[in-house]
């Protein structure tokens, strides 16, 4: 820290910055104050950040890996996708549509399922990420639909941060191979460029399914290719990303044949142009134009005479724009206003048998979303800060939605923040929930489904003890009205989505974190939450208790060691329950000179092979067995 530096070094730093204009000084980031991921205590939300250091220390590959260590988040996995459980809420029949996924602030939930893809299916993986930000709580007041429980923002690295070439190669159990290459530079003219490619091929392992009295061997392979590029010059940013992920599912969903490979492909692409400028001394402006593409295809093997393959497909093409003004001309206020329009000009879903060919579903639709929002941050005194936001959205086929948010932040001293947060958010039923049907075999469309709405209150405390120790605590109450759920229609035995009632969640969380000068990091959190439906029944797939412990020891006998414990309590399943489990993940890292390092990681060290509750379409599987202990060996260069 600065106090420990010799005076001469301090002077040098001073002279470098002394003659910069005030505007520039206020934009500089401080390097030395604290080793904590720096977020302002004044943020009008609960903000958690997983920095690049942490992603490396704990050997994270996916966004889901990074989020899983955060307080209150549990991640489940059904061998097709990873799903985020937040605030005790992880409905087995929901495709992750209640959390928003952003890349550098751009919304990337797809147009069919509104899914926040965070596992291997995510648009980006960790080597290109500077940090993963998680904003807990409803965010419809800024972002519109789907931000019921929170926002995950993936912040990509800049060319200046990469500054050269970063190759990575990796081998692992299940015959897995991963490689990536990042390149980044600041060009002579000040433009910043980033290119990134990442390839992975996981051959799959052996999974035991007691329900079938058999194992599925090498039927859960996972392959992907991801590309990303970014160009920044002045206030302009151009970025583009692509991902194609193919995943085999060994668990025979929808009554398909067990022991036969099924393959699902998810593909996303986006382009974005964003321009930030200051048309006046007190006014800044952001203009953003974007387009994205999503495609899904899955082949499901069914038994028959002869056996046949049923194909699910979906495709969405979306284009949109946003215009935002930030006004600072009023003392002690920061006022933000904006409009956003999004055109989903292609929303296709299909379901058909391939051979013999028979089409059950062929829907082609389009939809529009338009929203306008305003927010004011008002600094009433040095100790009180208020933030109020309101957004109006109009989604095709549904009436308008108002989403307000209020935050009061009290700062009794420089090291403490007490926050009282209130918010409302909505989610319109997605295309899949409304229009998908498989020809009345198991599921039919739900044209009557309506938006669900959430109202939340949260009281949070954050406190620093010196520069090395941080404490956090929060109490929360979430009310979800008209929750969209898959239920069987007694009239015909088919499932469809209905606004199934009200869900209440109450809970609390405490966390403690220690980081010192030498790089030692210790972090732990405990969450207790009760999520119940209107009949006071405990929700399925909702752990009452979550415990996380993460420790990173730099230079332990020449190795850097990261170890984490992720504990999840007992959960209800459709038919019964699954016991709690604790995962231990261990990562050791050794530097090989200045230009390379090797990393060895073992996940689920104790080989717990826990099980996650499944939706009904996996019957007879009530809880999905997980892969258990895996290991990888990674080499990472920097030139």
């Amino acid at each position: 820290m600065m106090t420990g530096l010799p005076a001469a070094a301090q002077e040098l730093a001073t002279l470098d910055t002394l003659h910069l204009p005030l505007e520039s000084l206020l934009k500089l980031e401080v390097s030395s104050v604290s080793k904590f991921p720096q977020t302002t205590l004044d943020a009008p939300a609960l903000v958690r950040v997983v920095e690049r250091d942490d992603m490396r220390a704990f050997g994270y590959h996916t966004v889901a890996d990074a989020l899983r260590g955060l307080p209150g988040i549990d991640v489940t996995q059904d061998h097709s996708y990873s799903f985020l459980g937040v605030r005790g809420f992880n409905r087995p029949d929901d495709y992750g549509s209640r959390v928003l996924l952003l890349v550098d602030g751009l919304r990337l939930n797809d147009g069919i399922y509104d899914q926040a893809q965070v596992g291997s299916e995510a648009i980006l993986d960790t080597p290109i990420l500077k940090r993963v930000e998680y904003f807990a709580g409803p965010t419809s007041s800024l972002y519109g639909g789907n931000g019921l429980f929170g926002v995950v923002n993936l912040v990509t690295r800049s060319g200046a941060e990469i500054d050269g070439w970063e190759p990575r190669v990796e081998i692992g159990t299940r015959r897995s191979r991963r490689s990536s290459l990042a390149f980044g530079r600041t060009l002579a003219g000040g433009q910043d460029v980033v290119f990134y490619a990442s390839l992975a091929d996981d051959g799959g392992g052996s999974l035991r399914f007691d329900e079938y009295g058999a194992s599925a061997s090498r039927l859960d392979g996972d392959r992907y290719a991801k590309f990303f590029a970014k160009f920044t010059a002045g206030g302009l940013r151009l970025s583009a990303g692509f991902n194609r992920r193919t995943k085999d599912n060994p668990a025979a969903p929808y009554g398909t044949r067990f022991g036969v490979a099924s393959e699902g492909m998810d593909e996303q692409a986006f382009v974005e142009a964003a321009y930030e400028s200051m048309p006046g001394e007190t006014l800044s402006r952001l203009v953003r134009l974007y387009a994205n593409h999503y495609r899904y295809r899955a082949d499901w093997p069914f038994a028959g005479t002869p056996n046949y393959v049923n194909r699910d497909r979906a495709q969405a093409q979306v284009a949109g724009g946003e215009y935002r003004l930030t006004y600072r001309g009023l003392a002690n206020h920061v006022v933000v206003g904006g409009v956003e329009v999004r055109r989903n000009w292609r929303l296709d879903q299909g379901n058909a048998d391939l051979n013999p060919a028979f089409t059950y579903l062929d829907v082609r639709r389009a939809a529009n979303t338009a929203g306008a929002y305003a927010q004011d941050e008002w600094r009433l005194s040095e100790r009180w800060l208020f933030n109020a936001g309101l957004r109006f959205d109009k989604v095709s086929d549904f009436s308008g939605e108002w989403s307000p948010r209020l935050a009061a932040i009290y700062r009794p001293d420089g090291a403490t923040a007490i926050k009282l947060l209130y918010g409302r958010a909505f989610r319109a039923p997605n295309q899949y929930e409304r229009f998908y049907g498989d020809g009345n075999v198991t599921q039919k469309p739900s044209p009557g489904a309506k938006p669900e709405r959430i109202t939340t209150q949260e009281l949070a405390l954050e406190h620093f003890l010196g520069r090395e120790f941080r404490l956090g605590a929060s109490l929360f109450h979430y009310d979800l009205e008209g929750a969209l759920e898959q239920r069987i229609d007694p009239a015909d035995g088919l499932s469809r989505y209905v606004n199934g009632g009200n869900i209440h969640v109450v809970g609390g969380e405490i966390e403690a974190e220690y980081r010192n000068e030498a790089g030692l990091r210790l972090k732990s959190s405990l969450t207790h939450q009760e999520a119940r439906d209107e009949d006071r029944r405990w929700l399925t797939n909702s752990p009452r208790n979550l415990a996380k412990v993460q420790a990173y020891f730099p230079a332990l006998a020449g190795w850097d060691v990261g170890v984490e414990f992720l504990g999840t309590g007992r959960r209800r399943t459709q038919l019964g329950d699954v016991g709690g489990y604790g995962l231990v993940n261990l990562t050791v890292n050794r530097r090989l000179g200045a230009e390379a390092e090797v990393r060895l990681g073992v996940t689920d060290l104790g080989n717990r092979r826990h099980r996650d509750p499944t939706p009904g379409y996996y019957a007879p599987i009530d809880a999905m067995p997980q892969v258990g202990r895996q290991a990888f060996l990674q080499w990472l260069g920097h030139f």
Partner: protein, 173 residues
Amino acid sequence: MGTPRTVCTLLLCLAVCGPVGPARAQPAGDVALRVAVLYNIVQFVQWPEGSAGAKDFHFCVVEGDELAAGLGTLEGQPLGAGKVRVRTVASGQLTGCQAVYLPAAGIAAPRAGREAGLLTLSSGHGLVEQGVMVNVVQDGKRVAFDIGLGALRRAGMSVSAKVLRLARYVKED
């Protein structure tokens, strides 16, 4: 999936991506940044007529925190028509000072000797409420400052609209 070919395209693109720019700026140290912010603000303050007799600017520092220690780096820096002269003082001896930096623990002291034309600066939580005119604080990753505009005006001084615009919080009376 055509992946190898795509990688080749990417590599080709990288090869033509041109000259390498200068190394990026190092992140600034916390004390250095706060010193620079105070120095900048002082340049936008107007003292009452006649109070700035000498050409040089007399910047007094009451010792007691790391920022007080860092302010020594301002010695000899240009300010207006003259140079900054940094002088370490006891909190009661402010005669001849145009600005005084007070550590958070010592801000009560100058009240007795508060006079026209003395700019008070400090760094800590909630100090503008206690009469400090310029309070520079750490706000997340960045440095911010609050202005006690009422106190500043009562002492016969004014500050430019630019500073007020960039302030995180401005306290009028």
